[in-house]
Structures are given as structure tokens and as C-alpha cells.
Subunit: 205 residues, 2 copies
DNA sequence: GTCTATACTGTGATAGAC
DNA sequence: GTCTATCACAGTATAGAC
């Protein structure tokens, strides 16, 4: 541990370039879909020749891997940021954070596909990137625990319910709210079954 | 209406070849994933040169389109075939047909992705193929109506719940049953909320 | 260390001979 | 209807200029 702190301008610049490439990759994915990502288009947007990308990423899969990790870190950040402004009643907290999650997923369909669907033929996230996913997942788990969802089965049931609303919304009414607007109804059903404090027992018909 | 009935041997042979190609495409998709389908591998399995496929399908997307229609027709057939052996009580019918649907989806992940997730960059099913999806959907709708699910919102909620179980099962526990085994619990929750005849009101904890 | 130039492989697609 | 030849363009890899 001798010498100045590692404050290389070089490595800072290098990291900035990596981020620039990732930002361009997200743009392309937004337009072409996550499977339609091409290094060519990414390079054009960054103002490089396609092979130059290999100075910063080992392969196209390495770019997907970095995007995967970044997506889950962004979700964790969104959850943390949403804590201020969160209601206190368990039932209302449940709905509040569900909306945070659903809106995050619907905001960018290709990001959601990369995070939650195995859609790139040979891509499997690296252990480091998968750890980012686990971190975000544990964050949600902790929130659920506060709310009163403690059994693993109940958590799995909730993730399925939310994932289903997102999947149906994106597949059958993209850009609309046909399933998104069912959130209150879905959570009332869930809260009654699992027993969340502050949930209404009735149902308006 | 003059002449013999249209019993061309030529067109029969032609249709048989198309089916052969589709069967080979399903095999490739099963191995490489639906997005990993290549005309080369399809051609090899059929014993053709890749360009020869264009005598039978206008493009790769046309193959996807035929696969899409076939998949939905197969689902409709599976639902129809399951009618014999179906229980009579609404609550048990609900669970029975849910299992038919979930098992069909889990049976071949790439088929499920083609049917329910927009995963091929520029592919949108043709009106004719989409009609096959609508037919199958209407079949399920009719079954649900018998069971007592009549409101559109209630149907949408159920499709979301089922799609969510499938999505989570495939994404986070492929080949296992971590979410699939939640079917009874999920449907009890749903049946209690929507009011299906013959549903238990309690919950074992 | 970083980018350019170039080339190799594989893929979807088309044209034309048989 | 099938094949051969060929094209355009993707991802990938290496060599070399600066």
C-alpha cells in the first residue's frame, strides 16, 4: 500500500467510455428489441468502428452481461429511492412498492426481457452480474418482510402475480393499462389470502 | 363445380413437405431456443440445401408465422382433448384446466416464448395466424364462463395469475416445480376472491 | 493503450441452371 | 422443386498505425 491513491485519469476515462457504450446499447435495444442489438449500431452511436468495442468488452455477451447487472442495480436504486414517499400502512406499502416494480418493468420492455426472460440464445449472466440480481431481490424480500409476508411460498405467489400482470400487459396490450389497472384488485385478493394488516375483507361488485 | 374434387397428389406432397420443415424447425428451436433458429440447421434436418426452403416458405419469418399458428392450434386441441376426464365441480374444473394450460406452456419453453412473448426482433404474427390465437383464447374464455368467471376483469386477472406462475417457473426454476406446485394455493386465493362455487373459504397455515 | 483496416465465418436471401 | 453460386451484412478476431 505505497504511493498515491489509485486516481488514474486513464482508468476514469476508460470507465466513462464503457458507460457510453452501455448507454448506446440501451438505445439500440429500445429500438430494435433486446435480441436485435448489433455491435455495428452501437459502434455508430458511440462514433467508433465495430471492432473498437472489443477494447472495452470481450464480446457481445459481455455487453449483455454488463447491461444485465446495470438493470438490476437500477431496480435496486429505484426501490431505495422510492422509500421516501412510501406510505406506512402495510397494505398501502404493498401496493406502493408493487407499482414501483411494475412501472420499472413496463418502462423499458427490452430491459425487462433481459432481466426476467431467457431470450438471448447462449447468454447466461456471469456470477458477478447475477449477484446484482440477487441483491435487488433480497432488497424486495426485506421490504416484503416488513409488510408481513414471511413465508417463502407467499413471496413466490406474489412475485408470480406481479410478473403475470407485467407479462400480460406487455404481450397483449403494450403501451396500455388493461392489466396494470388491475393492481389494486390483485393485491386485495392477495392480501386477503395471505393476511396483510389493513387489508379490506370485502369486494365491491 | 366441374371436374374431380381437388385431390392433387402434388399439393398433398407439398403440404407434407411443409409439415416436415415445421417439425424440423421445432426440433431446432427446442435445442437452440426460439431465437436461435437457423435455416441452415432446419435444412440439414430435412435433407435440403438452405435456399430450397424458400420454395416452401417465403422467409424465415413465414416459418415463425406458421409455427405460431400451429402452436395455438395445438393448445386448442389440447384443451378440447382434455374435456374428457374433466371434473364437474367448478372449482375442480378451474384447477384441472389451469394445469392443462400450465403444463402445455412448460412442456416446450421456446414454444411458449413464441406464443406469449415478443422475442423475435421484427416478427409480428400475420392476421391469419393471430386468428388461431384468438380461437384458442375464445375456447378458454368459454370454459371460464361455464365455471362462473364472467367479468372481463376477472378473466384478465386469472390469465395474469397463470402467466405469472409460468413465467416465474421458466425464468427462475426451469425444469423444477417451485411455482407450478403453487397452483392449488393460487387458485384458492383466486376462487375466494372472485367467488367460484365449491371453493373452500379457509386457509391452512 | 486505443483505434483503424482488413479479413474470416455464419446467416438470411436472391438469381439462374437443371 | 431442388441445386449451385452469390450477395449483403452480422459477430468476431487479428495486425498494425498512432
Amino acid at each position: 500500500m505505497v504511493g498515491l491513491p489509485n486516481r488514474d485519469r486513464r482508468s476514469e476515462r476508460r470507465e466513462a467510455t464503457r458507460q457510453e457504450i452501455l448507454a448506446a446499447a440501451w438505445e439500440v435495444a429500445r429500438v430494435n428489441g433486446i435480441a436485435g442489438l448489433t455491435l455495428r449500431e452501437v459502434a455508430v452511436r458511440v462514433g467508433m468502428q465495430p471492432p473498437s468495442l472489443y477494447s472495452h468488452f470481450d464480446s457481445k455477451h459481455a455487453i449483455y452481461d454488463a447491461m444485465f447487472a446495470q438493470a438490476w442495480r437500477n431496480l435496486a436504486d429505484a426501490i431505495t429511492a422510492a422509500e421516501k414517499g412510501a406510505p406506512r400502512s402495510p397494505r398501502r406499502r404493498l401496493e406502493y412498492f408493487t407499482r414501483v416494480f411494475v412501472d420499472f418493468a413496463l418502462e423499458e420492455p427490452s430491459r425487462n426481457q433481459l432481466m426476467n426472460v431467457r431470450v438471448i440464445p447462449d447468454f447466461t449472466p456471469s456470477p458477478e452480474s447475477y449477484a446484482a440480481a440477487v441483491d435487488a431481490f433480497e432488497l424486495m424480500r426485506a421490504k416484503l418482510r416488513e409488510i408481513g409476508v414471511t413465508r417463502d411460498r407467499d413471496m413466490d405467489l406474489l412475485t408470480a402475480l406481479i410478473a403475470g400482470l407485467i407479462a400480460q400487459q406487455e404481450a397483449n396490450d403494450p403501451g396500455g393499462d388493461r392489466w396494470r389497472r388491475l393492481i389494486p384488485e390483485a393485491l386485495t385478493m392477495y392480501a386477503n389470502a395471505v393476511g396483510i394488516a389493513g387489508s379490506t375483507q370485502g369486494r365491491k361488485r
